[in-house]
Symmetry: C2
Subunit: 327 residues, 2 copies
């Protein structure tokens, strides 16, 4: 009887870190999470990560072995194995791969969360069988991973596909990156909330959102209200879809993909967002591309995309990565 091999996939987020055990079919069998922000420093974070991996491993049946560890993190540089000054984590620049290698004699690789999600789609989601696609995650921010010619597009510093920071409005909204008008200030959960507040200021429509503070209003609430007939909430989705449609049309002009795969919390709004997005995309798309490009939803359970994709860095990456992974 041979061993069954599993891969650890890790998704490090600003709030929580999720560790999963992924099998060779891309199924995430067990998951465990802990609050990233409550670890007092990087050493404590690594300690917690190592113990969580150990606990998960002990849940596996006998004759199981680990093939490696794949990590998805914000601001990650694949070729270096580093995370560089992530916006939501007080770590500075750290080589996460080297730090984990002190604890495991396994192949370990790292990529950024958006690239991991794209890898997950490529192997096990809506990107299966596709040669060229863009996987875009609409959450608190906007991230993208680009697969071209069956390879992740990394660029010269592993920073290709920063589509959340494409400037859509010259003197637009302030972004966390200190510039103005970035796509993610319009097309994201927080962008939607900003649009609602702009509309509350501009219009006189009644809305229960006039009793919400900026900080307490969530994209989920706005979605529920739009479905219930709130005109401000509905218009906010129209406007968000218009920006997203234009962003996607420009994205097609850049990469000429077969499909754009959308995922992330904001996609919970479904047609509220997709209908205006598709309309504006069709209006804004250069006619050369017309008819050839699908806008589709993620084929992966939402919160698992980055974990599953990170696990694909081990073993599968040789087919996909442009460079050898730092293992």
């Amino acid at each position: 009887m041979i061993d069954t091999e599993y891969i650890i996939g890790i998704d490090i987020g600003g709030t929580n870190t999720v560790v999963g055990v992924v099998d060779s079919n891309g199924a995430c069998l067990f998951k465990s999470s802990f609050p990233t922000s409550q670890q007092k420093d990087l050493d404590q974070f690594i300690g917690k990560l190592v113990s969580t991996i150990g606990e998960l491993f002990r849940k596996l049946p006998g004759r199981s072995s680990l093939r490696g560890i794949g990590v998805a993190a914000p601001a990650a540089r694949h070729r270096e194995g580093t995370v560089r000054n992530p916006a939501n984590l007080p770590w500075g620049t750290v080589n996460l791969v080297e730090m984990l290698k002190r604890h495991f004699t396994l192949p370990i690789a790292l990529t950024n969360d958006s690239n991991a999600a794209a890898l997950g789609e490529f192997y096990f989601g809506a990107g299966r069988g596709k040669r060229n696609f863009v996987a875009m995650t609409l959450g608190t921010g906007l991230g993208a991973g680009i697969v071209m010619n069956r390879e992740l597009l990394y660029g010269s510093n592993d920073l290709a596909g920063e589509l959340g920071h494409v400037i859509l409005e010259e003197r637009g909204r302030e972004c966390g990156c200190r510039r103005r008008g970035c796509a993610e200030t319009y097309v994201s959960a927080s962008g939607l909330r900003r649009t609602v507040f702009e509309l509350l200021a501009q219009k006189n429509d009644e809305s229960v959102m006039r009793d919400s503070s900026f900080n307490e209003l969530s994209a989920k609430t706005i979605c529920d209200l739009a479905l219930g007939g709130d005109t401000i909430a509905s218009e906010a989705f129209e406007i968000t879809g218009r920006y997203l449609g234009r962003l996607l049309a420009n994205t097609v002009a850049a990469y000429d993909p077969e499909a754009i795969i959308l995922s992330g919390g904001l996609m919970g709004a479904g047609d509220l967002l997709l209908r205006p997005t598709r309309k504006c995309f069709a209006d804004d798309l250069l006619s050369l591309y017309k008819g050839g490009i699908e806008i589709i939803s993620s084929g992966l359970a939402n919160n698992d995309a980055a974990i599953i994709g990170a696990s694909c860095l081990i073993g599968k990456v040789a087919e996909v990565g442009q460079e050898e992974v730092p293992i």
Copy 2:
């Protein structure tokens, strides 16, 4: 004594078609051109092209042979060998490679003019030794060829890098593609002229351009006037540079290149265009990329970039093309 091999490089433009003989060092030894638009139909065009190639071949010294023919054309699809509904040529969709193969038993390959220029830069120009760059041509329109990981980025339909049709202004200027606000309506020779006319309408500054018609005003004239102190002409370059700087910042967010190589007629303006471009680029660039990206001028004699690049499709393309060329 062995034969010396040459490659024919052809640059088909809306106005003129230029045929060149290129040696293995990327030097264009002889050139001949004829007016594309004066050929009464496609057959006559092909006839003229074939006879021009013959005349050039007879100029070569004895013991010369041709290795193949590379063609750069607008609206060209590399993998198919076709030109599809070029805006400035009344041909519809034609398979130029097949048509030429009736006359020559040589390897023949085709790519679009912007990709050809990028190939030229990669092998013999400012892109030598670079792994990832964007080559942008600023002429009557705006074209771009993208080299990523030492390969041309073609996308799923050979339509990646249509950066002239990235929408920069939501309800902006009408474009020849029937949409509005495309980059090339601002950042091109004709975009510069439109900006001048907008300024003439908005401002009261004296300018000899108030005696010019729209059709007679050229980018060269605007450039000369700006250098001579014309304030409208100077401001038009400032505005053009601002749009170009933002386009380049967004281009970096998409591809993470090492460099952006600029060429084309509008680059004749030199610092008039480059100074505001570099300033706005620095302002608009996401800080992650700062310090790492060069904006440089073409390393090739201006009108030869596409000819030399087209010649690189023969022989060299195996190293660069993502697919076998249709030879």
